[in-house]
């Protein structure tokens, strides 16, 4: 079979030579017989070719050749149609790749459907991970599973002789973890149960990334010792490239190396637990076993486990984004809309050309071409266009993915989330190109195949065929297209407004000449708050002594870097019975923070060294907090508490407001500024903090000096993410920037598509009416009236489109609302009057741009040429 297939291929490749040979052979035959005795050599040639190449394939090749010649002949049309399809397919493909990576593909684990994530749901109905004790109980309950393992991640310091220390992310894993994930080390060995015992020799497994970047891929590293958080630890293995379970881990350690793990209380629920089902086990059985165990635990340990259930779900259900989330629905919706617009455009273009080809088709039909044959020819033309469009679209989406990947900082996305065109992407591409053929190629093909031959030929016109039907189709296409474009434009207007306001959010901060750097104190050496407090104090003093440094401060996050939510209780005010306590957001800062970020306090005083120490429980609040909670009177000196949910409010420390800060945004996505409470760093010195070092303008780069100061204080303390504050703000806003790339890319594409579509339809209308316009000119019509004729058509489409568009925008918002999402960005609705007006104006501009050229052509019609233009 295969050999025969290869012979067929060889025949096709050497077709000319083979046919020449056959001709020569028959020529010899002919010379040997009487001339009259020889049959038709053409028939013999054809039949011989049919032996090697199936006739249907020859037809398709013929159609393709014909289509290719036509596309080359009508270069302008081809270019426009391919561009339209490329934009539609490219954008839809880009979005599918993103959705696939985040929501569908899941973790690269063999037999991933049998791997479960085990957790709990506590008495407050919150999802929780498990404590070591609970993990132990679960492990002993699920004896039927082929493996149960736990993990937890923490930052750590990787140090050794001769190299600067690095801040790394370690994940503590229990021994059967890699076996359960069916991963084997590239070099060295897996953890053994002996490694995972208290008092065992400390061992570690490295990711290939750290092994290559820090140790140059040296195989002899296995068996050598490095220091992790100061503890000499032997490297026993190196995992394969790009494996960084669970997210962006650098180093794995046995679970027993996790500080305080075995003595942990039942409430310290810090372990994620996964299990692999054995061959015959089912999820229901596991859930039943867990329910029984949860029941036992709640009876045995009522203080910690009463009301808590144990849960099991497939690991991909836990780690994948949910496709039903409104953001993904909107995202996929936008992709589909752009693709539909592109298809509507391509259909309009094809219909426009079909009108020109009516005569040709009618002639072919009258010469005996069947309707099926004509429809197939037209579909092949569409398929060729779609293939070209698909190829160009793939290139476009690859460029888009490159732009997106270059924005996303390293170590941000989990190791299994990669945005790249792969085999699945190729599958999407082919499916999508085929779908576009059906969408845009079918209507024109049917339409033309139904051509009434006699009426077209009798009409004697090359263009005047079935115009009514053609116009109806194009009007429908165009109205739909305007409607969809309007949704895009509304989204774009909204996006531009939020981006502008995003810009304003930074108004109060002055990031120029500020260096930011992160520091994480190893838990083992800086366990007490006192140790961290005094370390930070000395570090800030040392850095402040660097020449040209004007201000040094620390905080738990950057501006726009998020904040921790807390509930607020104001002294002397009580809540009504069913009123939820207000939420405020907290950021912990050192003295001088506001000076360092360049946003001076509006009222009151800054923190000093005593604030946060017992007896000095003070807080600074932002203007928004004052507006919301102390609209009248002086807020300075007022008191409030930030109670824990499980502790009575009276037991929480009472905080005194000492200052009012300008409103610096911490969360980018919220509609309004949040009320923020700044707490003193000395009160609860964090393990990780960001440092702000403001220097005098035009001074030398101070990053090396800052590093030097830190190293002098603690040789194994890495500073990381050291960069100018402007860059740090950019990096932290990567998701907003990716959204902007997508938003602007898509909106630009939508506008371009709308312009092309409108142009095609209006130009078509003018072309169809050339003879009529010619007569009008011959009879003395003024040019202005002719332009009006074209403009009238454009206005009609504009009105229909705007109407449909407003309907679509409201429909879209309803759809999102039904999916449980909200389209409001920074307080603006898609349907608010300003957004709608702006998009309608944009649509009008697009329409005018699209009709200028056809109107100009109409005004210049030469009556003599037009009347001959049959």
């Amino acid at each position: 079979m295969i050999a025969e297939f290869l012979r067929r291929i060889r025949y096709i490749v050497t077709l000319r030579q083979r046919e020449a040979e056959l001709a020569e052979e028959m020529e010899f035959h002919r010379s040997m017989t009487a001339p009259a005795a020889f049959g038709s050599s053409a028939l013999a040639q054809n039949r011989s070719r049919d032996v090697w190449i199936p006739p249907w394939l020859q037809d398709v090749v013929h159609d393709l050749r014909f289509a290719a010649r036509l596309l080359v002949k009508e270069r302008g049309f081809t270019l426009v149609a391919v561009t339209v399809l490329a934009v539609g397919i490219g954008i839809a493909m880009l979005q599918l790749v993103l959705i696939d990576a985040v929501c569908i593909r899941g973790l690269p684990i063999p037999g991933v459907d049998r791997v479960l994530f085990l957790g709990g749901r506590d008495s407050h109905d919150r999802d929780v991970t498990l404590s070591f004790r609970e993990f132990d109980d679960v492990r002993q309950t699920l004896t039927d599973a082929s493996g149960v393992a736990a993990f937890a991640s923490a930052p750590a310091v990787l140090g050794d002789e001769g190299r600067a220390p690095d801040r790394v992310l370690v994940t503590y894993v229990s021994a059967p973890m890699f076996e359960l994930l069916q991963e084997r080390p590239l070099v060295g060995r897996d953890f053994e149960s002996g490694d995972d015992r208290v008092g065992a020799t400390p061992v570690a497994i490295l990711t290939a990334g750290v092994w290559r970047s820090r140790y140059g891929g040296d195989r002899s590293l296995v068996g050598r010792a490095v220091r992790i958080n100061g503890t000499p630890t032997t490297i026993v293995g190196i995992m394969r490239d790009r494996f960084r379970f669970p997210n962006v881990t650098d180093v794995w350690l046995p679970l027993s190396a996790m500080p305080g793990i075995t003595t942990e209380r039942r409430l310290a629920r810090s372990l994620s637990v996964i299990a692999r089902m054995s061959g015959r086990g089912t999820l229901t059985e596991i859930r039943t076993a867990l329910a029984a165990e949860a029941d036992r635990l709640s009876r045995t340990y009522p203080a910690t486990n009463a009301g808590m259930t144990l849960t099991a779900m497939r690991i991909n259900d836990r780690y994948n984004g949910r496709l039903t989330d409104s953001v993904w629905i909107a995202f996929a919706g936008v992709g589909c809309v752009v693709l539909l617009i592109a298809c509507a455009n391509a259909a309009a273009l094809l219909l426009m050309r079909a009108a020109r080809r009516g005569h040709e088709i009618a002639v072919r039909a009258s010469l005996g071409a069947s309707r099926g044959r004509i429809a197939r020819q037209l579909l092949v033309e569409s398929a060729l266009l779609a293939a070209l469009g698909g190829g160009a679209g793939a290139t476009l989406s690859a460029l888009g993915l490159r732009a997106i990947n270059s924005i996303i900082p390293d170590n941000t996305l989990a190791y299994w989330v990669t945005f790249a065109l792969d085999v699945r992407g190729l599958g999407f591409l082919i499916a999508m190109s085929a779908a576009t053929v059906l969408l845009f190629g079918f209507a024109p093909a049917l339409h033309l195949a139904r051509t009434d031959v006699s009426s077209v030929i009798k009409s004697g016109s090359r263009t005047g065929f079935a115009t009514m039907r053609g116009q109806r189709w194009t009007t429908i296409c165009l109205t739909v297209e305007c409607g969809l474009t309007m949704v895009m434009l509304a989204g774009l207007t909204l996006g531009v407004r939020s981006v502008r306001e995003n810009g304003r959010k930074f108004f109060v901060v002055n990031p120029a000449n500020v260096l930011t750097t992160w520091v994480t104190l190893p838990a083992d050496r800086y366990r007490s708050a006192d140790a961290r407090r005094s370390f930070y104090r000395v570090l800030q003093e040392r850095i402040a002594n660097i020449p040209n440094v004007s201000t040094v401060a620390m905080a738990t996050t950057l501006p726009l870097g998020g904040a921790a939510p807390r509930t607020l209780a104001i002294d002397g005010r009580t809540l009504r019975s069913n009123e939820a306590p207000p939420t405020v957001w907290t950021v912990t800062i050192s003295p001088q923070y506001f000076a360092a970020v360049g946003a001076p306090l509006a009222r009151g005083r800054d923190f000093d060294d005593r604030d946060g120490l017992p007896g000095y429980e003070s807080a600074i609040v932002n203007q928004r907090f004052v507006d919301l909670f102390f609209p009248a009177g002086d807020p300075i000196g007022r008191r409030f508490r930030l109670p824990d949910p499980n502790v009575p409010p009276s037991e929480a420390a009472s905080l005194t407001i000492v200052g009012v800060a300008p409103t610096i945004r911490q969360r980018a996505t919220s509609a309004d500024a949040d009320p923020i409470v700044y707490l003193p760093l000395s009160g609860a010195p964090p393990v990780s903090a960001v440092m702000f070092v403001r220097s005098l303008p035009d001074s030398r780069p101070i990053a090396p000096l800052v590093r030097e100061a830190a190293r002098a204080l603690d040789r194994e303390l890495p500073l990381y993410r050291t960069m100018p504050m402007n860059d740090a703000l950019d990096v932290s806003q990567w998701n907003a920037r990716v959204s902007n790339v997508l938003l602007y890319g898509i909106a630009f594409a939508a506008i371009a598509l709308a312009t092309i579509g409108l142009y095609a339809v209006i130009a078509h209308a003018v072309l169809e009416r050339t003879r009529e316009i010619g007569i009008r000119v011959a009879l003395g019509a003024r040019r202005a009236r002719l332009v009006g004729l074209v403009a009238g058509r454009a206005v009609l489409h504009l009105l229909l489109g705007t109407g449909a568009g407003i309907g679509c925008v409201f429909g879209f918002e309803r759809l999102i609302a039904a999916g449980g999402g909200q389209t409001a960005t920074l307080g603006h609705q898609l349907t608010d009057p300003l957004t709608l007006t702006a998009s309608a104006v944009l649509l009008a501009i697009v329409t005018i741009a699209a009709s200028i050229v056809p109107a100009w052509n109409a005004a210049r019609v030469d009556p003599v040429a037009a009347l001959r233009f049959d």
Binding site: R7, E25, H29, V51
Partner: protein, 115 residues
């Protein structure tokens, strides 16, 4: 004469079988094959070119024969067909199959005349 391609209606595949048989006597060009068929069948089988050459292409495709250019008896360039091992095997099988078919046809015809 011969102009009409299908002067004799053959059962499908029979022509290929006959061509293979003619080649059993040694390599031959297309004209020679047609001659042998005519002579051996006492002028009954006059195979037209538009049947013969497609049939030869089918045999080439199945690799039951192979073709080589050579000089004809009157010293002209001609393409000679040779039976391959696979072709020889195929001929054996086909022949048995054909015999079975002929016997079956005879049986049917006889049964009809007895009734």
């Amino acid at each position: 004469m011969g102009r009409d391609d299908d002067a004799i209606d053959l059962l499908p595949g029979t022509l290929e079988l006959l061509i293979l048989k003619t080649l059993l006597a040694g390599q031959q060009h297309g004209y020679g094959i047609a001659q042998r068929l005519r002579v051996w069948s006492d002028d009954v089988l006059q195979v037209g070119e538009s049947s013969l050459y497609p049939a030869l292409q089918r045999l080439l495709q199945k690799a039951w024969v192979k073709a080589e250019w050579g000089a004809s008896e009157n010293n002209r360039r001609a393409r000679f067909y040779t039976l391959t091992a696979a072709g020889r095997k195929q001929l054996g099988n086909e022949r048995q199959e054909f015999d079975r078919l002929i016997v079956a046809i005879h049986k049917v015809l006889r049964a009809g005349s007895e009734a």
